[in-house]
Amino acid sequence: MSDLDTATAVDPAVDSPLARSRRSTELTLVIMAALITGAAYTITALGTNAEIPPGIIFFVAILLGLLLCAHVVVRLVARGADGTLLPLAALLHGIGFVMIARLDDELAGLQATWSLVAIAAFVATLLVVQRATDLARYSWLFFFGGAFLLLLPLAPGLGVNINGARIWVSLGPINFQPGEFAKIALAIFFASYLADRRELIAASTWRIGPLHLPEPRYIAPIIMAWGFAVVVMVFQKDLGSSLLFFTLFVVMMWVATERLSYLLIGTVLFAAAAYFSWTQFGHVQTRVDIWIDPWADPLDKGYQIIQSLYGLADGGLTGTGLGRGNPGQVPEAQNDFIFSSIAEEWGLIGATGVLMAFILIVGAGLRIALRTDRTFEKLLAVGLTTIVGVQGFIIIAGVIKVVPLTGITLPFVSYGGSSLVANYVLLALLIRLSDSSARRLGELPDDPTPNERWKAWRLSRQLRRAERQAVA
């Protein structure tokens, strides 16, 4: 309660020192992320072809420009937000870009364009979503939107099969993975739905034998959303995303109801589904077989993971040096396997840095969930953080043979426009949640948003007009 006591003492006219210090932290860290990226880019180019990249000044300038643009927007419309999220994302994004540029010039150009779009999406999200609670109002829209996005790749003429998975949509020259956005939409829906009905669901008044279950009508939409996601994923052969949705659903149910049984039931359900798909689907069996012994088929099915492991070993503690390894030996190195490329060239030390960046993002995300006093925001922060944290874990664990490999991108790091844009949208939402809770905690004055000011201005004009008419 001391927070609130001090908060009341803050003079609204004076800017909050807390917000100011957060923003200067963010500015410093963002500049550092840009410098690290610039240095890594230079060293990698030196390592690859012994040349200082000709456009290095230009590169750093653009990079810094983009990040500063994002920072300035945060300063303007979310100045109370956590100051570490944007720099952490920028660092991961930068490391990923350097690695993609080192693997493939052409993809680097595309990724640079996508980076621009991603930062634009970040800014747009912050500008559009000025109050986190606004999102809750449209929860059903997000439900249907998410479902639509998930189904989109199955539509004939639109969906494309790439590497055996039908998760792509092709619109003219642009390919994108709608699933990346669907997960955010569904997280918003889950958060809003559970926030409204968590007591009802937790009450578990419906009894079947020894089991206490929530009333079917309360839980049905969630089961639907979840089942929908899983079924679609199975048809699209996207195991990684399927696993991610499962986890997202179970974690949000557990946190919302505060009942451990949901976590346990979820785990059992997952194990059953995993076993079922293992018996039914050849591609799942293959994944598991490769995981158990990649050397059983070293030149074909096991090739990718074996090359990944050789890359890890070659990197060792300190790495082969930037640009001095052979990450190109791993097929799809720029995509799912980007982490093993980083571990090869940056070594255990560099790879641990990436792990720590993810841990810090998870920490910052969950701190937002802890600080906010609104159930919807708590659940949304939990959901969004779970997406980043679990997705990072699934793919990293896959490429270093901790769990069977499931194709999924490494947030912020992997090549891929949809993934990058979606993750920056997710980041903007977390920052918005962080700012909202800071304002409610009184850490900075809760000024009206530009949108509210506009409405207020219109209202006052109408009032004045009404007054004038009244006078007249």
Binding site: L46, Y310, G325, L348, K378, F393, A397
Partner: protein
């Protein structure tokens, strides 16, 4: 809900800790095992895709060079050897799947520019615009001398080695059979494997640089060493005379030793040396005794790997010496270079070099300098003394003995140089003692010239040479002309002209 959120935080943290542990497992724990797996090409690939500098001879001919390949080729560079098989013994080869040999192997870090010095210089150059750090290796070997050596051997098995007595610089070192690295270095794995397997199984082992990686029975050329040990001990002087004998029975046996062809041979030391009688040197070895002979041969570097700057050199040997005092007849025979004595051809050139150089045997070197990407010298080989087997006085005496061989002895037929340049030599005919084929011998000669101011020391060996009823194999007749040919070329022929200085780092 906050309790669950904290538990979630702990859970996710635990997941990432698992990842950290797994990373340690792969990157540290299992690194040695994974690196060593046969199908792991990372380490080779890393080096293979780097630019690699050229190897040039001391007369400026490119012996090995890399060219960038067209995009889409499996490797970024292809290695070529413009001199084909001429310098293969020295450059060696550089392959993706089968490793590398000789200079390519030993100087790999200089060629790819990964030595610390090159890396540091490379950083400095960055500011000036040049950034390539590949190095150039300059051989001491001359391409022209090498060509003459190959021509003189004319396809016969054996080797020609030329060193500078004063420095140890190897100016020529060619041996038959050899191989052309171009046939397999850029070939597909299967093709390359087939060619290399064939080369490994081929007679005479073409992949070996026989001149420094093989050893042969030296025959009478070894008498230079026996005489040297005798003179150093003081037990033998120029005044010693040896009786004219056809046969001599050493101690502990009844089996007599004969001179070459069973001839009658004797006289003072200079005479028996020039005529290459066997009995006197058997007697000298017996007189010195096993201990002095074994110690003496050690002083000449026998039993030690040659200190050459190339990988896997052979060591000459005096044979098994465990029971030599019980086996004096063997000691006697070894005194004139037969039985178990085996000498590396390069070592024999060094023996001649030691006599030419006042008793100092220099370390032989095949690489005389290395340069960085801008042509600045990284390292220049400085001559070093390896052994001092004899004093300057003894060396002078032996030089006179060897001049005698050339002027009126076993080499007089064949070694007289153009322009009357004085030359010193010693021949050898090592009979391999194959009962079914008594005519099979190694024909040797070692020589240096000009005798009054030695510039070059040579060793020539024709291995497994077959005597015919018309022509008996002798070192003088077979090897002599080769030694003369190469010395003439170097002292008075085209090769005596100043050579074009090498231009390292010319943009490759």
């Amino acid at each position: 809900m906050n309790r669950q959120i904290r538990q979630l935080a702990v859970g996710l943290l635990a997941c990432y800790v698992v990842l950290f542990v797994a990373l340690n497992y792969w990157q540290v724990g299992r690194k040695p095992e994974l690196d060593a797996r046969f199908d792991n090409t990372r380490q080779v690939l890393r080096e293979f895709n780097r630019p690699r500098g050229p190897i040039v001879t001391s007369d400026g001919v490119v012996a090995a060079v890399s060219f960038p390949t067209a995009p889409g080729e499996p490797y970024n560079y292809r290695r070529e050897y413009p001199t084909d098989d001429l310098l293969a013994d020295i450059t060696g080869y550089y392959t993706f799947a089968f490793g590398s040999t000789q200079v390519e192997r030993l100087y790999g870090d200089v060629l790819t520019g990964t030595t610390t010095e090159q890396q540091v210089r490379g950083l400095g150059d960055l500011l000036g615009g040049t950034v390539e750090t590949t190095g150039t290796v300059e051989l001491a070997v001359r391409e022209d001398a090498q060509e003459v050596a190959k021509f003189l051997l004319g396809g016969r098995t054996g080797s020609v080695t030329v060193i500078e007595p004063k420095t140890g610089a190897i100016r020529a070192m060619y041996s038959n059979p050899t191989y052309d690295p171009n046939t397999f270095v850029n070939a597909d794995f299967d093709v390359a494997e087939g060619i290399l397997t064939d080369l490994q199984n081929a007679e005479g082992n073409p992949l070996l640089a026989q001149a420094y990686q093989e050893r042969y029975m030296p025959g009478s050329t070894f008498k230079v060493i026996t005489t040297g040990i005798g003179l150093e001990s003081g037990l033998i002087t120029l005044d010693n005379t040896f009786a004219d004998e056809r046969e001599w029975v050493p101690p502990q046996t009844t089996d007599p030793i004969q001179n070459y062809n069973g001839s009658l041979c004797g006289g003072d030391l200079a005479t028996v040396f020039a005529r290459s009688c066997n009995i006197p040197f058997a007697q000298i070895a017996t007189l010195l005794g096993p201990e002095a002979m074994v110690e003496g041969t050690k002083a000449w570097g026998i039993g030690e790997e040659l200190p050459i700057d190339l990988p896997r050199p052979a060591a000459s040997t005096f044979g098994n010496t465990d029971n030599l005092s019980e086996e004096l007849p063997l000691l006697a025979i070894r005194g004139f270079g037969q039985s178990e004595v085996q000498m590396v051809p390069l070592h024999m050139a060094m023996v001649a070099g030691a006599i030419a150089n006042g008793g100092q045997m220099m370390k032989p070197y095949a690489v005389q300098a290395t340069y960085d990407q801008s042509g600045r010298t990284l390292d220049r080989t400085s001559p070093e003394v390896w052994k001092t087997p004899v004093s300057a006085t003894t060396a002078e005496i032996e030089k006179q003995l060897m001049i005698g061989v050339a002027e009126r002895g076993t080499a007089s037929c064949c070694i007289a140089l153009e322009g009357g340049i004085p030359v010193a030599a010693k021949t050898g005919t090592a009979q391999l003692g194959d009962p079914s084929n008594p005519g099979l011998s190694h024909a040797w000669i070692i020589a240096f010239a000009p005798a009054d101011n030695p510039q070059y020391a040579v060793s020539v060996v024709l291995t497994n040479a077959q005597s015919t009823p018309d022509v008996a194999v002798t070192g003088g007749r077979l090897a002599g002309p080769i030694a003369k040919g190469i010395l003439d070329f170097l002292l008075t022929g085209a090769g005596s002209q100043p050579v074009t200085p090498a231009v390292p780092g010319d943009g490759t």
